[in-house]
């Protein structure tokens, strides 16, 4: 006599097998991640890793080492990521020291030659270049601890004494500069002056030009800030403080690196009166309010304040 059990025993076996498989994989012997790389870490851990790199950089001022460490995180735009994290750290009420360290590292990584071309024509086009020296990997050769790399090999060869080369080639940096964004500056009254500053270090950054810009491409009233060093290169990581009645906001230049490493902006609320200053000091720029511009066909749109801060030549 033959018992007809139908296909159910197959289904029962499948369910039992799946259950036992899941039990083994999830409870008895769950997967353990080992030998992972910093780039695979969760976003918040990567942020902490980045902050630690910046803190270590503040201590040792070894830009090549910091660059090598940052490379492990595989960030697409290192300087920009640092600047953004600095801003988020401040906005979220995080440690000002960490924000400062992040901004400093972003600033030092973005020190490559990034000329700003501002012609005198009322319809001039301001071409703002992004930093490229920031992402040119420095190449420590020897004399220092060999940092881990993305290769699967754990470093085993001690490096011995020699000089360390961390300066990127200026000619290469200049050759790689690629204008990323173009902004059209419409009538501002007077064109920005042509300046031939000399390179200085430590000189204060002060307001050099304040102009009202009518740009129909800007949908909202904004305060636009550009910071330059004495050589005329845009500099990122400059902390800007905006105050208004009952409010304050901090941000850093370089946060929108597609518009220039020294560029930052703040959207104004119509009717509010703002003052702006650099966190490192200097006279505040006051009485900044939203105002309208009028185009040729009579339509109106919001204009913006363009503030150029420059490091004085010594």
């Amino acid at each position: 006599m033959r018992e007809n059990r139908g296909p159910w025993y197959l289904l029962t076996g499948f369910v039992l097998g799946a259950f036992l498989g899941l039990l083994y994989a999830w409870v008895v012997s769950p997967v353990e991640y080992v030998d992972t790389s910093p780039a695979a870490m969760r976003a918040d851990f990567r942020d902490q890793y980045r902050a630690l790199i910046a803190s270590a950089y503040v201590a040792n001022r070894d830009i090549a080492r910091a660059q090598a460490r940052l490379n492990l995180l595989s960030d697409r735009d290192v300087a920009r990521t640092l600047a953004e994290q600095a801003q988020h750290t401040l906005a979220d009420g995080g440690s000002p020291e960490v924000a400062q360290a992040l901004a400093l590292l972003a600033l030092d990584l973005g020190q490559g030659p990034t000329p700003v071309v501002v012609a005198g024509s009322p319809t001039a086009v301001s071409t703002l270049a992004v930093p490229t020296a920031a992402v040119e990997a420095a190449s420590p050769t020897a004399g220092v601890t060999q940092l881990p790399t993305e290769t699967p090999q754990i470093p085993t060869n001690p490096v011995t004494a020699a000089a360390e080369t961390s300066e990127p080639s200026p000619s290469l940096g200049a050759a790689l500069q690629t204008p990323q964004a173009t902004r059209t500056s419409l009538p501002t009254g007077a064109p920005l002056p042509t300046r031939t500053p000399t390179a200085t270090s430590g000189a204060p950054i002060a307001l050099e030009e304040k102009s009202f810009v009518c740009d129909p491409n800007l949908a909202e009233p904004m305060i636009q800030v550009v910071a330059e060093n004495a050589a005329g290169d845009q500099i990122s990581g400059i902390e800007v403080v905006v105050n208004w009645e009952g409010g304050e906001n901090h941000f850093f230049t370089g946060i929108k690196s597609e518009l220039g490493p020294g560029y930052a902006d703040f959207t104004m609320t119509p009717g509010e009166v703002y003052s702006l200053r650099l966190a490192e000091g200097g006279e505040p720029v006051s009485e900044l309010t939203a105002a309208e511009c009028e185009s040729g066909d009579g339509s109106r749109y919001w204009g913006s304040w363009l503030l150029l801060f420059a490091q004085g030549a010594e």
Partner: protein, 100 residues
């Protein structure tokens, strides 16, 4: 296996510092030591080291010291690690005293 290894191999995401490869972990500890050398904030250093796993902060530094000695870390870096290890050993996380 063709699908799992070639077509769509596993990608590790959202991992933690505790799963980092040994050389990355050692460099992480070195960064903590470098930062500590400047700010002398031992609780902060201990919090950062705690991300590396359940072992004590001192143990993490000890492991990094061993790794560094075996893999040619510069003497100055080994000194930083030694200093941090030494200060952690005398540090009381409850009272916050100790260190230098």
């Amino acid at each position: 296996m063709l699908y799992g290894w070639v077509v769509n191999p596993v990608k590790y995401v959202d991992t933690t510092p505790s799963s980092l490869r040994a050389d990355y972990q050692a460099d992480y500890v070195l960064m903590v030591a470098e930062s500590y050398n400047q700010n002398r904030d031992l609780p902060l250093a201990a919090r950062r080291l705690a991300l590396l796993g359940e072992s004590s902060p001192t143990e993490h530094v000890r492991q990094a010291l061993i790794f560094g000695a075996q893999n040619g870390y510069a003497d100055s870096d080994l000194e930083l690690l030694s200093q941090l290890a030494s200060d952690l050993q005398t540090w009381n996380p409850i009272t916050g005293t100790g260190g230098s």
